[in-house]
């Protein structure tokens, strides 16, 4: 079975500080893609960062970076210099190379405190 687990339902961080959101997943496939999506109060889902499982180098996008541990099936998101606009629900997701379906976690609600 393909599953995604986000064990932190809620987190908070002070503005300008760094926070890490956890995600673990399970799949028997070896080729897949991992994603972090952000859902602000507007409900619009926005891609934050994407990681190909065959790449050892961790993906980075400005203040967002991931720690991808393939053997441990772990894919955490680090947000540096947190901003008020980062307040949102964050979803971890993956899709296999041969599949047609994304699998989403239950989300982590992040609040950035001024």
């Amino acid at each position: 079975a393909q599953t995604v687990t986000q064990s932190q339902p809620e987190m908070s961080v002070q503005e300008a500080e760094t926070v890490t959101l956890s995600c673990t997943y399970d799949t028997s496939e070896s080729n897949y893609y991992l994603f972090w999506y952000k859902q602000p109060p507007s409900r619009q889902m926005i891609l934050v960062i994407r990681q190909e499982a065959y790449k050892q180098q961790n993906a980075t996008e400005n203040r967002f970076s991931v720690n991808f541990q393939k053997a441990a099936k772990s894919f955490s998101l680090k947000i540096s210099d947190s901003q008020l606009g980062d307040t949102a629900m964050y979803f971890c997701a993956f899709i296999t190379f041969t599949g047609n379906q994304f699998y989403f976690g239950t989300g982590t609600s992040l609040t950035v405190i001024p």
Binding site: Y33, S42, R43, Q44, M45, I46, I95, G99, N100, Q101
Partner: protein, 113 residues
């Protein structure tokens, strides 16, 4: 580019009524998806389409139907609405491969009373 648009934004249905949620994308994406998001949960795939004329079931297809007659449109039909279908519905699309970035619509909040 409008991206992915969904109508309506909100809707209240009575038990047993039917309705169609509309989804249109103007990015010439071949893949389109319908998800539902229940409170405190992640997104669950209802149906998806890999191109015009081709649709397939996702994790939670019961109580829904879809069609894809054009590349742009992917309507979701609810027949005989039930309270368990109260949810927020998202349409999404992606280009060429399913593992490319999915672009999401703004969602439709549906309440069945």
């Amino acid at each position: 580019n409008a991206g992915v648009t969904q109508t309506p934004k909100f809707r209240i249905l009575k038990i047993g009524q039917s309705m169609t949620l509309q989804c249109t994308q103007d990015m010439n994406h071949n893949y389109m998806y319908w998800y539902r998001q229940d409170p405190g949960m992640g997104l669950k795939l209802i149906y998806y389409s890999v191109g015009a004329g081709i649709t397939d079931k996702g994790e939670v297809p019961n109580g829904y139907n879809v069609s894809r007659s054009t590349t742009e449109d992917f309507p979701l039909r609810l027949e005989l609405a039930a309270p368990s279908q109260t949810s927020v519905y998202f349409c999404a699309s992606s280009y060429i491969y399913s593992y490319n970035e999915q672009f999401f619509g703004p969602g439709t909040r549906l309440t069945v009373l």
